[in-house]
Symmetry: C2
Subunit: 597 residues, 2 copies
């Protein structure tokens, strides 16, 4: 199916928007009137620019407050429409969107609306233009898609059809099944947007919080299935008003948009993508650092051993039980201090995983880093983190481990494993990140939670595979500038956090100090065995409980932008200790204030 | 009356919050439990810190999900309460807030609620503590203040009273008049918050969008009047959850908070502030610049003449009709390029205006800049703009004009005057700015409007005096970092914008080019006399109409952060051409992209 995007969904000048849409692979655009008005390009220039970019102009929009008004008012509207149809002819646009009226002058008279829309369609036909009439969710008298369709149907004009918009339909809770009663050739256009499920004024919701399909709570794919059953053959077009996208660079937003449509097309059986290959574990986490010493001291105290080194690069492999951490001191792409730069994901079929990622517009990274390296399938996530699809120790598949030569040291037996990885997301790409990990990796996105940092609210959302052997927590700061302020971390699972913490401390490790007041509160909220709480207090272990089980966790000090966490999950606890995050964040701020870090 | 603020209303560590509250002049604080948990200070330390700062601990909050639950659950709640009462004794807090339960275990049984709250109050009394029971707007069974009061009344326990919260009462549309039926001594606490009038889920509204009284749409003063009639003698306490305040520096937020309470206290007759002295005109606008040449070329082309120079400083007075602009090339406090640094406001009583500003916590600026200068009353607005209260040419009052000596040149006769001044506000202080201009200057705040810039949404709000002779437009960018991106401007009113624009162009001035598409749209929307639209198109004049009248306006190029606007208001047009702002902003971005500025 053809895909299209409304220029209002992207940031910048009209030229920037068109370029971004074309580069992301869209077939066409909806030209939003205000973008045209503000552009120094003439309509002919815009038409030529679109043609050069391989874009069709699928829709001109919106025309407002046209129908069901007194005669003299309608005459003025026809005059206005004639101007716009002339403009559309210059622009090469053959379909115009007419939104149901919000004018106080409009009357509740479907017959009048049909008659005036017919007259508008008469005029449009003279220009070779089709009129697509759409019900705004907050239209004065027409606010549901079936009502708009009844008016179009009774008008019975060949140049008059309806436009469906998933936001306007689903935000009102209308049943989209009724779409199947509309003949497909009378659906002149289909606009798609998702939105988080908010209880708020629908106009504000629509203007500020729309998002791309798969990023919100609507069943957009379900709606599209109904539309396709009508025989609709027009484009799938995204129309998203979103305060964040307005500020974000147009290029990445357009890629995010197109990826959301690809996932949607796959869901409705109209795109043949390589199928998802869900990762089955974490092969390694890779830290880059300009100075390995603080990190390796930390890893040593956690019981990690340097078991191997890369044959051609300054990368060391540190192991502890099943947890593997690479420490890379080579020139990294994003070298601003110590950070979590890459994740190795154990994959049942690394090449197939990479093909799917590429089909979903993930930047593919070079397969071989050096001539003698094993070929590795890898892509970049929206936040720049490199994702390697690995087949550790599986015969017949390229193994990243083959690039490393053993040091002779064996990993300690007291086994840790990687429980989860926490990545800080760029402010403008939080919704994109969850869709990426879901669409590309087949991970399930858990609910988004707010976390109170002393200096602003963070939002956090985890993506996981079914058995929890891959868990990635995505966190975004309170403002666009904060994406480097908050730390990333690697959480290591242990069967006995108290023993692990004690070993760490005995080995010279230093845990994040937790305020005594926190433990007084724990004592008020829960009952503990004798001495248990004192142990937690002594070590700085935090405690949480959910409906399933218990979570105990503690934190190392931060090195650069990275810290490590020791966690013990019991009885199927599913979360990440979010209830304790404000205390942890405040403690980290306090340490930073003391150390000036 | 005593004033208090909840620590949750301010950003930072508990220490930072307490310091900010004390410096702003609050008498006490509500300690929010999470702030205490996250603090490394012991309860005794916090008590001592508060005492040192002259703050009382007026409330400990919140205690949740206590009442109307099965017996074993209530026993656990009592155990938890005992821990908290012990903590409060250490903290020196004698009142605890208990919110109506949201627990799924709570039952709809007022008698049980009253009995269990009585038992809680029994325990509290042993610790010398009072229990203030409050209805959350989203409480499971108790969500209105009168319901909470009925339960408290039926319990009849001396250590049990109610807590009123203006947000919970007004967000539900409850009639606050019923408050007068509660005996004042049973109102144990009063929490105040305002909020913008949003139609949204009340819990999200409460947690993210509360603001200080006078910054939202609630009649908080009306509610307080009802409370005072009961004989309530406790503090007025602010409890505001707000995503922006969480990120803003605590110090300025605390000042903003305290100012809002002062204005509120005045409104309910409990504060004797010097009365407002509303300005009657704009005496001058002052631009600072490291390089006067581009500005003075611009002013020259607009018909301004350099009529006087300051006797002791590198400041020149430029005049055109009634418009006066100072160009200051001396070392300015905030010298980062050319900007609008000060406004002279014509005041009926400059000294009284300054006294009110000072009483409302505006920083007072030194009265004399140099020994020989005329004494000038001036304060700083929240955005740092200096506001001078002036008595231009009024005998017996200090006159700023006396510091200037004439150059001999006379201002041009073709009179301009200052129509409005547009100031860019720091992101964290937009609500504060409107309250400041209203409270301190007695200006009326008009409705807030959204304006689509190509790179994000701006919010804009104007403050004016009754006859429109003082108009200041306050604009804030889409993100915390954008406060220096968008330009400030001075709008000059003319009776004939076409003639003014032509004179400007003839004198070598260059107007902002407006896209041709904009004029095609005007032609579609309005009917013009022959040649009228061509004139606008030729000059780059924008056109708007409201219910009252017509607005025509055009823009100069930008110098540093400042540009000028020529405006013609006809027939009582009240706005600022907001409908045209997206086109103007896009045109300014296009110029900047071309010039690399």
């Amino acid at each position: 199916m053809r895909t299209s995007i409304a220029t209002v969904s992207l940031s910048g000048s009209l030229t920037e928007k068109l370029t971004a849409a074309a580069r992301a692979g869209f077939d066409g655009v909806e030209i939003f009137e205000n973008d045209l008005l503000a552009s120094p390009l003439t309509p002919e220039d815009i038409r030529a620019r679109c043609a050069d970019l391989g874009l069709t102009v699928d829709l001109y929009q919106p025309m407002r407050d046209v129908e069901a008004v007194p005669g003299d008012e309608f005459d003025r509207n026809l005059r206005r429409a004639r101007h716009k149809f002339e403009l559309m002819r210059r622009l090469g646009a053959d379909t115009v969107l007419v939104c149901s009226s919000v004018s106080p002058q409009a009357v509740d008279d479907d017959a009048l609306a049909a008659e005036q829309l017919s007259r508008l369609a008469d005029l449009a036909r003279d220009f070779g233009i089709r009129v697509a009439y759409e019900a705004l969710a907050w239209g004065r008298h027409v606010s549901t898609y079936d009502h708009a369709w009844r008016i179009v149907e009774s008008a019975g004009h060949p140049a008059l059809g309806t436009c469906l918009d998933s936001f306007h339909i689903l935000s009102r809770g209308s049943d989209p099944k009724g779409i199947e009663d509309i003949p497909g050739e009378k659906i002149f256009f289909l606009q798609l947007a998702d939105a988080p499920l908010l209880a708020m004024d629908v106009l504000q919701w629509s203007r500020h919080y729309r998002c791309f399909p798969g990023q919100g709570g609507f069943d957009v794919a379900g709606l599209v299935r109904h539309v396709l059953r009508t025989g609709y053959e027009g484009p799938l077009s995204l129309e998203v008003f979103n305060d964040v996208f307005r500020q974000a660079e147009a290029g990445p937003t357009a890629v995010d948009a197109r990826r959301s449509l690809l996932v949607l097309q796959e869901a409705v059986g109209r795109a043949a993508l390589p199928g998802p290959v869900v990762p089955t574990g974490v092969a390694f986490a890779e830290l880059v650092t300009p100075d390995a010493e603080p990190l390796t001291t930390l890893l040593g105290a956690l019981g990690f051993t340097r078991t191997a080194r890369h044959r051609g690069k300054p990368v060391a492999l540190w192991e502890q039980g099943d947890a593997r951490i690479l420490v890379n001191t080579g020139p990294a792409v994003r070298r601003d201090g110590t950070q979590l730069a890459a994740i190795g994901l154990e994959s049942p079929d690394p090449a197939a995983a990479a093909r799917r990622a590429e089909a979903l517009l993930a930047p593919v990274l070079p397969r071989r880093r050096a001539p003698e390296d094993a070929p590795l399938d890898a892509v970049a996530a929206p936040d720049g983190t490199e994702l390697f699809f690995c087949a550790t120790g599986r015969p017949g598949l390229p193994d990243w481990r083959a690039d490393f030569e053993d040091t002779g040291a064996a990993p300690a037996a007291t086994g840790l494993r990687i429980d989860h990885l926490a990545l800080t997301q760029p402010w403008h790409h939080f919704d994109e990140a969850a869709l990426f990990h879901h669409g590309v990796l087949g991970l399930h996105a858990q609910e988004s939670v707010d976390v109170a940092d002393p200096y602003g609210l963070l939002r956090s959302r985890a993506v996981t595979n079914a058995d929890g052997s891959v868990r990635i927590a995505l966190t975004v700061g309170p403002a666009p500038t904060d994406d480097t302020v908050h730390a990333q971390h690697i959480a290591l699972a242990t069967d006995d956090v108290v023993a692990s913490a004690r070993r760490f401390r005995a080995a010279g490790g230093s845990l994040l100090p937790v305020p005594a007041n926190y433990y007084d509160d724990l004592a008020a909220r829960f009952e503990f065995a004798d001495g248990e709480l004192e142990t937690y207090r002594d070590l700085g272990i935090l405690y949480d409980r959910d409906a399933q089980g218990v979570f105990r966790h503690c934190y190392t000090r931060t090195v650069g932008r990275v810290f490590l966490e020791l966690v013990q999950r019991d009885d199927g606890y599913r979360g990440y200790g979010a209830a304790n995050a404000p205390v942890r964040l405040a403690a980290q701020h306090a340490v930073r204030a003391l150390t000036g870090g």
